[in-house]
């Protein structure tokens, strides 16, 4: 029997309600990504891109439909199980969210330590990933001692640390200048491809989206294929 696809989003609906109005941001959205595949979702502000990512990451709940990550239906998981579920994901946000009291290396080790890895194993893995993002000389530096691009590279290393099946990235280059954005984008897609990790990126940056195998555009709560390229 074959293993389930890493990510399946099936007919997901999500509506935000306020006293004044109801805003259906996702209207039967569907998506399916295989192991090692990458996709980028673009769309106007407020179109529901981040909502989609939050739902997949178990940070928010669907109104209807299902999201399967590695065959596990996120919507059915209680809070306690959600913590364990989140350990199967890698997250990269527009803001790096590095813990300021931890060095770059320690930040990368965090998902592993949270997952119960031995600190020596975590240290070794962190060193490997810090090297992969080209920051070995800065491994002992604290976030405030790093540039914006370097911080985001640490965040990418951290997202990949615990061998996630799926990495979700929400505007990972949104805070970076063009040069850094290019470097970080290369690094994110390169490492994901190299390690066979399924990657879903939400972005406004069309050049970043163009690096994905599948470029999707979210409009009126529905995903449309905007571009496709063959895997390398």
């Amino acid at each position: 029997m074959s293993s389930p696809p890493p990510l399946v989003v099936d007919q997901v609906w999500k509506t935000y309600r306020s006293e004044a109005e109801e805003l259906a941001v996702l209207r039967g959205t569907s998506l399916r990504l295989g192991a090692g595949e990458s996709a980028a979702v673009t769309g106007a502000s407020g179109s529901g891109k981040s909502t989609l990512l939050n739902l997949i990451g178990g940070l928010d709940q669907v109104d209807s439909g299902s999201i399967l990550v590695g065959g596990v239906d996120v919507a059915t998981l209680p809070e306690r199980a959600l913590a364990a579920f989140r350990r199967r994901l890698g997250l990269v946000f527009q803001f790096h969210h590095l813990l300021r009291d931890f060095t770059a290396s320690e930040n990368v080790q965090l998902p592993l330590l949270i997952g119960g890895a031995h600190r020596h194993a975590a240290g070794t893995r962190a060193a490997e990933l810090i090297a992969a993002v080209g920051l070995t000389p800065h491994a002992s530096r604290y976030p405030h001692q790093l540039s914006g691009g370097e911080r985001q590279r640490v965040a990418i290393a951290r997202a990949l640390a615990a061998h996630p099946e799926v990495v979700l990235a929400d505007e990972p280059t949104g805070n970076l200048d063009e040069r850094n954005a290019g470097e970080v984008g290369d690094m994110l897609f390169g490492l994901a491809e190299q390690r066979g990790v399924t990657l879903l990126v939400v972005t406004h940056d069309r050049s970043l989206a163009a690096r994905a195998q599948l470029h999707l555009h979210l409009e009126h709560g529905q995903l449309h294929v905007a571009g496709e390229r063959s895997p390398p």
Binding site: D60, A83, Q94, H97, L99, D101, F102, L113, G115, H163
Partner: protein
Amino acid sequence: MTAPAPTLAARGYAPGAPRRRELARLVLALAWRFLLRRRTVSGVRSGLRGAVLGIALSLVPLTVVMVVANGLIDGIVDRYLELGSYHAQVAIADSQLASGASVEVVAGFVAALPGVEVAIPERRGSTLLAAGGRRVVAELRAVPVDLPQTDRGFAAMVEVHGGSFDLTGNGVVLSAELARQLSVAVGDQLHLVAVPSNLIAPVAGDAELGAARLGGPPRLTAVRVQGVFSSGYQELDRRWAFVSLATAARALPAGRELIGIKVGDPHDPAALAAVVAEAQRLVGQLGRVRDWKVLEAASLRSFESSRALLLFVVAMIVVIATVNVASATVSVSLTRRQEVAYLKAMGLPPAAVFASLTLAGTLAGAAGAILGVAVGLAAAVNINEALALVERGVSWVAQLVAGAGQAAEPIALIDRSFYLESIPFTLPAEQVAVVAAATVALATLAAAIPALAAARLRPLAALARTA
């Protein structure tokens, strides 16, 4: 396409159940950094170090009060025990005075009782001391001349300022305060003016003759000052004048007789009770035997009440300081809201978030307790020097204010008449341990409330796109 990423299980991890030991280590690391760490992005210091300092600062006075109050009270009680009430006392009944029973003989029998170290025959009564134009009411205490040699406890508590504790011949040994009031020194002569104790009534502590009402013909006995002493507690000894029993036979015909009993450990209630019972059995109707806790019950209650009140007031400060831990933890969890959210988004269980923040509070309490108690003990050990230094400083300022041409009176912050001249250091180890433990417990409790809120934080609420 490359091969799919290996699962965590394949790598030896169990995603659903982090190893407890590793997680505990991570919780400790998080707590430690929440406690100590550095500036936020905006430069504001974030952490519980301020709370640690607050707790420490509040524990300093508490520790000083505990140690000094204990030292003072223990020192005062010791002086009562060794010099005043003795460990136990046989009060000879008034009716026996006329019977010719010798208190010295009875004391000899009491001294032979098991558990009794020393039995001291004594006669006490009020008298007037007259020297030159001055007259002062005193409490005359007639004791054996070899008392300092036979009673080590007595000798240990008496500091002779001039001459010696020599009661031979017509010698009298005066308290330093009596000597000051009479303006006499070693070698000077004075007169004991003996009157029945029920006919002399000092008014509001005024010791002058003019404030006393006299009755009956006074009996004058000339004595010579052979020593001036101090017990270190003026409130106790300010009216004491010691003479020999032989002198008292002439000068104090109507004094009350008693036998002071000293035992090995006056704080051993069972041993003391046994001695009291034995002594009572021995003296029968001749007198009434009571231990020091009964004899000094009122004073002890007063001391304990004062100590409890002091501790209560200072403990309130500690409680307030500990509550600061709650606000500091709230501050930490707010300034680190996004970090906490991201930790949860990475799969850190809510229980671990709660544990790390609560543990940070515990560490803050423990660090504050250790620091505060250490500084407090150091201050308490040097309280006499510290007090003297402060008094010198205040006096210097007073002199400065008075101006160069005028001499300002030296300022004493506490009246030595009512306190020990030198405050002894007594470490109330149990109390200190209880206070430190209570501080840590309170700090933990105070941190637990905001920690619970942080544990319940929904990651999405804090992971906004903007920092």
